[in-house]
Symmetry: C2
Subunit: 180 residues, 2 copies
DNA sequence: GCGTCCATGTAAATGGTTACATGATTAT
DNA sequence: ATAATCATGTAACCATTTACATGGACGC
């Protein structure tokens, strides 16, 4: 999904400024699969304007640049629906942590364990946050995606715990050697 | 991870041609987190050559371009180790399927169910392939990453099955209406 | 004083995808 | 016949990241 479609996806749920779009992509329910910086959002919004897929209104503020509230147009909704009609591409997972652990033999001693502990902690936090989210009002699509996400994150935490011993064998050996 | 580091990661496990590097990234144990086309691999290899991180030997073949077998140098190994010493960036998951399902309300009727079934099937196949893989000879890092991957894919298949009903409510309603 | 939140935007640099160019062999 | 496999590489294009530019308010 390019940033233009991402923006339409946010705006179809309600009007927002560029700044707010970024926040929603970071904190909202889409946060898990999307990311975009200002350097891609603002130009994307510019292109959407040019194509008539969004309109905007300026709200002047004191001591700050004018806030531009964007709103999706009927054409924008049509374009978004069209984008949704494509075949979805294959999922892509980029995990530098797992890449590094894969090459554990080339890592400094103990580094794999460090990476893995941070990894587990990251997902433990995300899973905890998701567990307390209230989705009673949310549409089916939101609840489905949330459920899949939560299952994945819990599976990661669980799997890391179950397999961590694979990476600490040399540490254990050292510990044993010290005991003697 | 940029493609240069990916190439070094493949070559550190054994010499290979550009073509073979791509195959290993697609089929090998790294396939889950990496992807690279020829358009990025060949230039990357060129840069690695220029920096002295790999050497190569040409093997002439009949009816085909000469095959260039690349081998990592000591400098290359050092550079790879250095790349592994960085802090790993956050994982990034790009899932157009889940993005689309999130916006189920804007999808054509029945389309969400189609996407979800294909999604489940994709991961069911990957999970099956992983379950039969033989890793008895593999180093700890490989086994760890494999185990995490397998857990994730199984969790997805499972979670899709448990939550599919969320998306077929309107279908059920239609079925009920037809029965009457 | 320092960091963070608010708020917009541009420009350069990076990096990757896609399409093209070439062409023999083998399997369906 | 047609597609896939093997094999390399370039060039145009596209998108995104990063850094820069500006600046007030507010909490620590």
């Amino acid at each position: 999904m390019d940033v233009k479609t991402l923006c339409l996806g946010v705006l179809i749920r309600g009007e927002a400024s560029g700044y707010e779009i970024k926040k929603q992509l970071e904190e909202g329910p889409l946060a898990q699969f999307c990311r975009a910086g200002f350097g891609s959002i603002y130009p994307a919004l510019g292109q959407l304007k040019a194509k008539g897929l969004v309109t905007w209104s300026e709200h002047s503020q004191e001591g700050r640049p004018d806030k531009k509230i964007y709103r999706i147009t009927d054409q924008g909704i049509a374009a978004f629906r069209k984008a949704l009609r494509k075949e979805p591409s294959d999922d892509r997972v980029h995990s530098e942590s797992l890449f590094m652990i894969f090459f554990q033999g080339f890592l400094d001693s103990g580094r794999a364990a460090e990476i893995v502990d941070a990894y587990r902690e990251t997902y433990r936090q995300i899973a905890t946050r998701m567990r307390v989210a209230d989705l009673t009002e949310a549409p089916a699509g939101h609840r489905f995606v949330h459920a899949i996400g939560q299952s994945i994150y819990e599976a990661i935490v669980d799997a890391v715990e179950r397999n961590r011993h694979l990476l600490s064998e040399d540490v254990d050996k050292k510990a044993l050697a010290t005991e003697k």
